[in-house]
Symmetry: C2
Subunit: 233 residues, 2 copies
DNA sequence: TGTCTATACTTGTATATACAAGTAGACTGT
DNA sequence: ACAGTCTACTTGTATATACAAGTATAGACA
């Protein structure tokens, strides 16, 4: 029913920041000052300041005080969801077609990145993901057998590589990039697009604690897909 | 020097999750249980659990307990920085060329989105951003005069539209999308790319508390630019 | 069988208190 | 003039306590 009291204090401070009454760099009242002003204990006032600090609106330094943070820079984020979730969330039907599923010797690929020796085997898969009757994503992966030993025996018309890999080992990190490319005729045929049509290409490396789990490239036709994101500063 | 005690408890829990001793869905000990186990007060144990909840490793529900969260889905983020920061961060020279800077009547544009009446004026700018001797970004903006009244008199060879707008009014939200496109000959000539070369197109709408501040589209040649991001799950 | 209640547990909020640790400025003594 | 110290204020950590509120289960009762 009634909001907790520390939210009142937070709202009070946010209001003063939004209306520019307190500007970037200004000192906001101390925990004790807010406590007496609002008639609460210091720990309650503290909680308000602390959460605002975690949310990035304030910068707090021991011994000095709490200050209004600089306006956040325009840099922001784009989210990339798992393809099957995204399609089913739209109420459409997702189907995965396995174009290739094999073990290849390490020297033929970028296995060095995976931290394996020369002769080692590496798993390689190519899937095509359909939304209803149109192909939407061409997915190629190289998987480290250490972290996904049963990869080749999975039925990817039921699960997806992404689900399998994240169920096997807790993923801790990833880096990725996105670029605009044109694709060769083989991929273009699979995706049923015209020659020269621009595509989004998403390269991703995923890590668990002990090494790289997989390297994947996802390709979307530019005319059928956009990556979207909403962001609260 | 010595870490605070609640971090010990956090590390203890994280260890058990990372080594799969506690798996997704498992219940972790209650605040009171941890308190007696570690010989601390409940509020200290609570802090450990609470922070882990905020970090997404645990899901806490009142009355039930704290549970290990599902492995985070593969969805992740791509960061988009301000173009001038990015170029200068690479140690290169950034230069902005103003191709157009004007006020246009609202009906000619998507001014409805900006929440303005028919006859209102709207600011329109096109800039080309150079990295050393190569054009890297074609930037087109429609700006709401209410939130950037001095927009037309800015010298964008010194500042950037992004800097000006975020200095004027505190930006609270944005949504954006990215797609792969080919561009018309005018933009292609400006960017010095061949006909049909794929480009990344980034559409963004930025909001402050009281309405849409601006609508912008950024276009990068696919061969010269990729959006990158690193992520800790 | 089904429903309501009591109870035991959980997390959430709030207070009062104590001490630790970092910062700035004033005040000291040389 | 300068260096060191002391003080006042800040945030950080930790405890003990109390009550509120949500959940599930066991048991009483119709």
């Amino acid at each position: 029913m009634g909001k907790p009291r520390y939210t009142r204090i937070k709202e009070h401070i946010i209001r003063r920041i939004d209306t520019s009454r307190w500007k970037a760099g200004d000192r906001v009242p101390s925990e004790n000052a807010l406590a007496t002003e609002f008639g609460v204990s210091r720990m309650t006032a503290r909680r308000a300041l602390q959460e605002l600090g975690e949310e990035g609106l304030l910068v707090r330094t021991q011994g000095l005080g709490s200050f209004v943070a600089d306006a956040r820079p325009m840099s922001s984020m784009l989210t990339v969801r798992s393809i099957d979730e995204e399609i089913t969330a739209r109420g459409h039907q997702h189907r995965a077609e396995v174009l290739l599923l094999e073990a290849v010797p390490a020297e033929r690929t970028n296995a060095l990145l995976l931290g394996l020796g020369e002769g080692a085997e590496i798993f390689h898969s190519i899937l095509l993901h359909w939304e209803n009757t149109l192909p939407l994503q061409y997915e190629e992966r190289f998987v480290n057998p250490r972290f996904g030993p049963e990869y080749l025996s999975q039925d990817f018309t039921v699960t997806t590589p992404s689900h399998y890999l994240s169920s096997i080992s807790p993923l801790t990190e990833a880096d990725q990039s996105i670029e605009a490319v044109t694709v060769d005729s083989e991929i273009g045929r699979a995706l049923q697009i015209k020659r020269g049509e621009p595509c989004l290409k998403l390269n991703r490396r995923t890590w668990c604690q002990r090494g790289i789990v997989n390297i994947s490239t996802l390709i979307y036709p530019g005319s059928r897909y956009r990556i979207g994101g909403h962001l609260n500063f």
